[in-house]
Every structure is written in C-alpha cells, then in structure tokens.
Symmetry: C2
Subunit: 247 residues, 2 copies
Amino acid sequence: MQRYFIKESQIKNNLITIDESDSHHIKNVMRMREGEHVIVCSLDEEENSKNYLCTISSLGKNVILNIQEELNENNELDFNVTIAHGLVKRDKQEEVVRRLVELGAYAYLPVIMQRSVIKIDASKRQFKNERFERIVKEASEQSERNRLMKLLDIVTVKELINSFDNYDLVLFASVASKNDLSLKEKMKVTSAKNILVIVGPEGGFSEKEIEIIEATSAQTMSFGKRVLRTETAPLYAMSVLAYEGEK
Amino acid sequence: MQRYFIKESQIKNNLITIDESDSHHIKNVMRMREGEHVIVCSLDEEENSKNYLCTISSLGKNVILNIQEELNENNELDFNVTIAHGLVKRDKQEEVVRRLVELGAYAYLPVIMQRSVIKIDASKRQFKNERFERIVKEASEQSERNRLMKLLDIVTVKELINSFDNYDLVLFASVASKNDLSLKEKMKVTSAKNILVIVGPEGGFSEKEIEIIEATSAQTMSFGKRVLRTETAPLYAMSVLAYEGEK
C-alpha cells in the first residue's frame, strides 16, 4: 500500500493534513479517490515513528486523511548501521543513498578522505539538502521503511575516529582481512546495536588512513575476493549486515 | 595491478598481441611504459582462464606483452550464480550487469515477465551486444575477476522453468518467505555448484508467475523485510550468496 512520511504536528483530532507535494502525489500521480487507503508514518521530533492506516477524507489543495487505526508494523533492523563513505561524486552519492535506504541503513556519513576525487571547502560540512532529503523520503516510502535514514554532516577522518565511542562495532573495508572472527561472530560478541562501516572513496583509503584506523578498535570486514567499486561496497556491506540481522 | 582479458589465440611463443582497444588503454589511458607490468587473463574457448604476469615489451599500434610467469590466482566463487532478472529498462540493466560482475555472478539471464515495462519482439532473444560485452569486460578487469560473466539470451518464464534441471538450487525472491531453511542451510543441503536466483521486474512477479514457479522445485529466499527495487534485489541476492560462500 502507498505510504507517506509526515511530521507528528500534521495530525490533529485524528485527521492528517498532507503537505502540497504529497497531496499532488496522491491526487495526480497515484490518482487516488476519497475513501481509498494509504499508510502514514508519523515521525516525532526524535524521529520515532507511528504508523497509521488512513482513508482519504478529502482531496483539496491539501489532502485530508482520516486515521483508521494504528498499525503494529516494523520493517526496521534491530540495530543501527551507519555507513561512513569517502566523499564521492554527487551522482554516485545519490545512487548509494537511495539503495542504502532500501537496504535498511540508519545513517549515511560522508567523510573527507585523501584520495577523494571531490574536494570541499573545509567550512562546508552540511551534506543534507532538499534533493537528498527527497531521495530518502521517496525511497523510504517505496521500500516500506518506518523511519527516514539520517543524512549526517560531512566529517574528517580524525572526527570520524573521535566518534568511534558512539558505536559498539566499527568495521572497515579491507581487501586483506584479518578475518579472526566472522562478521556474525563480531556482531554477536558486541551484541551490536550501533554499527559503523567505513568504506573508502574511488581511490580507496590512503596508507596513512589505514594506519590510523588500524590503530583504533576498528575491525576489518572482508568484502570478498573481488575489488568492489566505491559505490558497490556500501551496498554489499549493508546487504550482508541486514541479512545477518534478519536471517 | 591493471589487468586485461584476452583470447588464448592472442598468445604466441610467450608473447601476447593486445588488440587496438586495449592497446589504446595501456598507452593513452594508463600511460604505461615499456617494462611495466600488467596481469593478463587468457580465456580459452570454454572460457576457462589462465592468468599471467606480463611485462610490456613494445608500445606499437598493437602493444606486445612478454609473459613472465603464470599466476595461481582465483578470485571466483566456488559455485556459479546465475541471476534471472525480469526485463527492465536498458539503463537499469547496465547498472545491474556492472555490479553483478563485481559481486561475482556467473551469468545474467533476462526473462520476459508479465509486468515488465519493456516489451520485446518474441523473435529478438539475443541480449549480448557490444555495449554490454564492454561493460562486462571493464568491470571484470577492474574488480579483478578471472572470468567474464555470461550474458545469456532472453527467455520466457516457461523456458526458464524448463531449465531448472541445470541448477541444483533455484531461489526466488519472495516477500513472504516460507523460511523453512536458512539460505546457508539450503546451499549446504544441495552442496550447490549451480545456483539460479529469480528476481522480478519493476512491478514484481504476476500472481500467475508466482503460482507456476511455486509449483516447481524452486525455493523461496527472503530479501529482508523491506521492499527492494528491481535493480537493488539482484545486488542483495548476489552479495549474500557471495558472503555465504566466502565467509
């Protein structure tokens, strides 16, 4: 069933006022009629969601929905996976962001790395913008997520390492994996609730980056024998983490 | 190290004559010099490969390489995974083909399905063309594969089902998976050497298609709780199969 993400503030007295963009989608793209059903994911300020089955009550400039019942639905993973990704070109970022939403990622964190083709002004750290937010919202609706993947501000490798304490498992892409513990065992040992996976940019990690990451608590994760492109590696990592978490 | 796929017939007396396209790549893209090294994967008529470490001997119109030694390298999976994919638009096919090569797939098999947006003339079954072959070759060289993923001719669902005997495990994407056995157990039980995974087109399988596939020996495979797009599902499947095979 078609679903829409809204803010909790759009709900009043069991009625939901849909914004103009989603109203356009309901009326002109989906061509829905009064009385038809949609699912609404309502996010509070902490981005916790409640899910409602709704009927379309009126099709004005702002569509009005009537809440029928709260749904007990959860398509999210039991743990949060943040993908830290070396800065890559915009079109690759868009594709990776879209697919990571589908695959269940919690957050996307762009990282300034030595071999990134993309160079940014050190003062420009905001990654989130209208276009990326729309991609996340659309992909979340289509893939039936219950929350929106976070788009975090761009960080340096140093800042990334300083944030490791926020995670109970930090994995980084390595061709020559130590492979002491399997991924499954690593997830179990930590009973990981917050996982960070670090993937390099087009040119891979620099030797210095590998050196300073290896000096931390971060653990290697095998990405298989083949060399994955920077836009494929995050999808592999997210697929196998979701698979291990859901099987 | 940069690698190139060649045909066995290009080797004579320990020397390899590179074709004009790859010669251009060596000279003008990689800007390599005489004496530098490349890896060459030589494919015989059955597409078995031998891998050689070579030095650049001369940089004429056709670059000549000198074989130094045969390499004992194998980045392939122990089993063959064929991805049968409902016909989708060309740009999506190209992306899926490229990523499946990186992830280690054995073959890509487009299938005419009821809900495919793309309709083809029943007589036009050849999928392989110059553009797709170039994508496979480039992705194979970049991802350090030892063989080229096969691009199979387009089939109908009926023809697909008739080919099930060629595989020892047939999996199809299901939202509501029976999940009697885990994927790992399924792979073990069959000690699968030839695996077929069937993924629907944009609109998913039709009810009739599900009905006739379920009446066969095909087994359901969970793709997680979220709804994956038709171009994401093959990547998820190939990632977790490679992961199960290599961990």
